[in-house]
Amino acid sequence: MSLSFLTEKYKLSRNPFPPAASGIEAEKIYIPQRWQRRFEKYYRLLSTGSGAKGFPIVGEYGSGKTALLKGYLKGFFEEKRIKTIYFKNPGVQFYDLANDLMGSLGRNEFSKALWERCKEFLRSDELYLFPRSFSDFLNDLKKRSKEEEKRKVEDLSNVVIKNLKLTSDPEIAYRIASMIAETATKPYFSYRDFVAGAKGAVVAEKKEPEYFQAIIRGIIEAYDVEGVAFLIDEFEEIAFPKRMTRKQTYDYLATLRSLIDLSQAENLWIVIAMTPEAAEETRRMNPGLWQRFVHRDHLMRRDRETEFKLEPLDIEESKHLIIWWLDRAREENKNKLFPFPKDIDKILENRPDIRLPRPLVKLCFFALAKAENEQIEAPIPIDFIEKVVNEFYPRSKVGSENGRK
């Protein structure tokens, strides 16, 4: 069998660069050590301090924020036994976030996991030959009278308070217990599960933050983790202040504040990817809140600030990034720029705008694909690469990926 041009000439099993137009969907991505050190520093600083456990990642559209959240920070937190939950453009209201959260966990899965934690503390009236499963528990509940069912829910809520210590509020505990017990009749979450005041709502009026706090503790218990990290990929509208109404503006601020408050009280981490415009708008709307989020104190100690700005990689970091991706598709000749030319610096030096992970990865994909298509001998000549760069990233196009600016 004859080898493909890519394998024969470029020594690659495939084109390793993801072509994705909207966010790299890779499990793991390359990020420079400089960035890794900063994240470690933020983590050290914030996990020991008493302030909010969170920070913004600020970068233009197409600079690689999504990839950073999904391909690096997810693993970063999970290595520290912190469960990550990724939110893609949630709405500005607190409910929207809660709804997305519970939707991503799934009612049955979350209730089952919580019940598993509760069951060792539950008193049992009967003896069972085999250990009981969650579905046995739910089926059993169906057969019980209303009175018996109520007693079972009360037992569960006592465990929620005394043993799991999710809350000290009996009403909230009862509602969490009901959420578990009612999974048999309603195996999904709906907005009534979070919205206070509406008829049939699970959450008591004015108790949404406390309820949410108990849910966060519940996630920590149920999944046996040290904490929870919310990786929020932009509150999309914030970058377009003119499209927002006053209500949306203040709903957004209220949500951000609730999250920051919660992150101070619980081991909840909040990382929000946003554009520079969105960051600036948030700062303008409520400077105090922004200062809490980026940990800017009255002494303006820059070394303690936690605003992560996605700035261009330096030349060496850019080359490392290219090599890192190339190595995903080869067994031999690792750690080399080949089939790209060694003098690729000449292009990178003059174009800081393409020295961000996402544009660089995209360019490499297209350069390699085009070179393969045109059967260009390796190493691919620098003027060929330059042509591709100018084609895909003419200087005026910078910052307007996906037609957004």
């Binding site: 709405g91 209201q93 607190f94 409910y95 929207d96 907005y191 919205v195 206070a196 005041g197 509406a198 004015k206 202040p241 003119k242 499209r243 927002m244 109404t245 006053r246 209500k247 949306q248 503006t249 203040y250 709903d251 601020l253 209220a254 504040r257 609730s258 708008e281 303008r284 709307m285 409520n286 105090g288």
Partner: protein, 265 residues
Amino acid sequence: MAENDSSFVILIDTNAMSALSIYVESCSAVNTELGAGIEDLKEKFKKKIEREEVKFEEYLELSGRCGAKAGFDLFWYLKNKNTELSNNVKIYFSFFSQVELFGVFLDRVFDHKLTRQGVPYRIRKKKPFRVQIGFNYQEEVVDFWEEIKDKLMEQGIKFEVPEYESHSEFLKDAMQVLKIVSKYLALETMDLYLYATGISLRVDEIYTHDDDFRKIINNIREDPNWKNIFNSIQKDLIEKNRSFYMEFESKGKITLPKGVPHEPH
């Protein structure tokens, strides 16, 4: 964000929308583009009557305080706002106002039919025949409203229904505001609902032809004698709703809606 940068939000009251619908209908009746002046419309109606294309009783009210003239004013108010603010305007019309408006449309249908049958106004206004008159609700009310909305949309005027937004979150917020407002203001039921809706949506203006309602809205905003009511409403809003709390924290006060138009018709 600076408050001036946000979308400008207007809530339209039923009476104002009814006037706007009369204006749109008048323009359609004489095949004239929306935007035409009232004198122009009158002239065209006159010619139609002379040519016996329309009967006198079908001549729509053109100059009454809630007639086509008021609708013409609202049409240009919204048009100019759109131009002035580069279309950064959001116009709300409540679902319940729409229900009320459909009632107005039905009245017009009945009135029209009874007039043709020679029933005098004295009897008509008692509405004794409503259950005995055949009517096509879909065609005469629902489709009629859709046509009006389509014509206005062609002019860049688009209405949004707050009750349809964001699941039922809007209603939850509006009910919370309604409970607060009703503690301090004895408004008519529909006015209370609209005012609470306006506050909850943070509308900049409530456009209404109800002079009393508009006066109350503006007194709460501006009149020092009403300051205690404003303060009480503001205090409760801040206490019960985090979003209002953030507004107060950012701006130092809650901005309540303004009643427009300025001059009574």
